[in-house]
C-alpha cells in the first residue's frame, strides 16, 4: 500500500460500490408509481369558481359541507372513456345523497367538444369548464383523468392519477368521512 494509485483506486471503488448499492435499491422501483399520489393530499383544497356547461356556476365555497369528488377529464382522452362507466355507476348510487357532490372539470379541451360529449354520453353530474387551466394548475394535475376527494371541511383526502374504478371512488368517498391524519 505504498503507491497512491492503490489508495485512489480503493477510494474510487468504495464510491462506486456505494453508488451501486443506491442504484440496486432503486431497481424495480417504478418512478411513475409515486405519481399516483398527489402532494396535495392532507392539504386544504384549492378554491375554484367555474362556469358549468349548462350555463350555471360551481364554486368551492358553494360545496362546503359536502364530500366532493373532483374529476378532471376531457372528450378526447381514452382513459377518461375507460373510467366513464365507473363514474356513472358511482354517481347513480350517490346522486340523491345531499352530502355528496361530484364535479367533472374539463381539462385541455374546447368548451364545445366537452359540452357535446357530456350531453351525448349522459354525464349527468356537474361539468365545469376551466378555460385558463387555472383549476387544473391549482389542483396540481399532471394529465387527465385525475380525481380528487375533498372532505366537507375542505381538505383533500384522496387522489388518483389515471382512470378510477367504482371501488377507488368509494374508497375516496370513505376517506372524506374519516379524520385525516
Amino acid at each position: 500500500m505504498k503507491h497512491p494509485a492503490r489508495w485512489i483506486a480503493l477510494t474510487v471503488g468504495a464510491v462506486v460500490a456505494a453508488l451501486a448499492v443506491v442504484l440496486a435499491l432503486q431497481v424495480g422501483n417504478d418512478p411513475r408509481a409515486e405519481q399516483n399520489k398527489s402532494t396535495l393530499v392532507g392539504k386544504r383544497a384549492p378554491s375554484f369558481d367555474l362556469a358549468t356547461v349548462s350555463g350555471g356556476k360551481v364554486t368551492a365555497r358553494g360545496l362546503e359541507g359536502k364530500a366532493v369528488i373532483v374529476n378532471f377529464w376531457n372528450s378526447w382522452c381514452i382513459p377518461c372513456k375507460q373510467e366513464e362507466s365507473a363514474l356513472k355507476t358511482f354517481w347513480s348510487r350517490h346522486k340523491d345523497d345531499p352530502n355528496v357532490a361530484m364535479v367533472g372539470i374539463v381539462r385541455d379541451d374546447t368548451a364545445g367538444d366537452a359540452r357535446r360529449y357530456a350531453r351525448n354520453h349522459g354525464m349527468n353530474w356537474t361539468i365545469a369548464l376551466d378555460p385558463g387551466s387555472q383549476a387544473a394548475l391549482d389542483f396540481a394535475t399532471r394529465g387527465q383523468p385525475e380525481t380528487y376527494a375533498i372532505s366537507p371541511d375542505g381538505l383533500i383526502t384522496g387522489s388518483q392519477y389515471g382512470p378510477v374504478s367504482v371501488g377507488n371512488l368509494e374508497t375516496m368517498l370513505a376517506s372524506t368521512k374519516s379524520t385525516p391524519q
Binding site: T39, L40, K43, R107, D108, G132, S133, Q134, A136, L137, D138, A140, T141, R142, G143
Partner: protein, 155 residues
C-alpha cells in the same frame, strides 16, 4: 521588437477589459416582469412532461403556469413566494435546481469541491516538479521500461 509586442498585449488587455465592462455594467432599473416570469418558469419542472421546464413546454399545465406566474408577479409576490407556492402544490420535485441545503448541498458542493481540490493538487504537483532536480534514468530504469514496452520481442 519586443517592446512593440508588449504594446500589442497591453492594448488587447484593454480591449478585453472594456468589452467585459460594457457587458457586465449594471444597467439601471430592475429586471423586467417579463424576464422574471421567464426565469421562474425555466426553474420549474413541467409535471406532465419529462425533463422539460414550464418555460419550454407547450403543455396545458405549462401554459397555465406561465399565466399564473405572470399574474402572481403582477400581484406583487416575490420570486421566493412564487417558488414556494409551486413547491406546496407539487412537492420539492417541481424545482429543477435543487436548493443548496441539506442533501441538496451535495449536488452543488461536491463538483466544486472536487474541482478545486484537484486543481489545487495539480498546481502543487507542478510546482514540486519544477523545484525538483531533473532525475536521470539509471540502467535499471531503462531495463524496466524496455521490459514493459516491447511486447513483440517475445516469440
Amino acid at each position: 521588437m519586443s517592446l512593440r509586442r508588449w504594446w500589442a498585449w497591453l492594448a488587447l488587455g484593454l480591449v478585453v477589459v472594456v468589452a467585459v465592462a460594457i457587458t457586465v455594467w449594471p444597467r439601471g432599473g430592475e429586471r423586467s416582469d417579463v424576464q422574471r416570469a421567464r426565469d421562474l418558469a425555466a426553474e420549474l419542472k413541467c409535471p406532465e412532461c419529462q425533463g422539460l421546464s414550464m418555460g419550454d413546454s407547450g403543455s396545458t399545465t405549462a401554459r397555465a403556469a406561465r399565466a399564473d406566474i405572470t399574474r402572481r408577479i403582477a400581484h406583487g409576490e416575490s420570486d421566493a413566494q412564487i417558488r414556494q407556492a409551486y413547491v406546496d402544490r407539487y412537492g420539492e420535485s417541481i424545482l429543477l435546481k435543487p436548493e443548496a441545503k441539506g442533501i441538496g448541498l451535495i449536488v452543488w458542493a461536491l463538483p466544486v469541491g472536487a474541482l478545486v481540490a484537484a486543481a489545487g493538487g495539480l498546481v502543487i504537483a507542478l510546482r514540486r516538479w519544477r523545484r525538483e532536480p531533473r532525475l536521470h534514468p539509471t540502467d535499471a530504469d531503462r531495463r524496466l521500461v524496455e521490459s514493459t514496452r516491447s511486447p513483440t520481442d517475445q516469440p
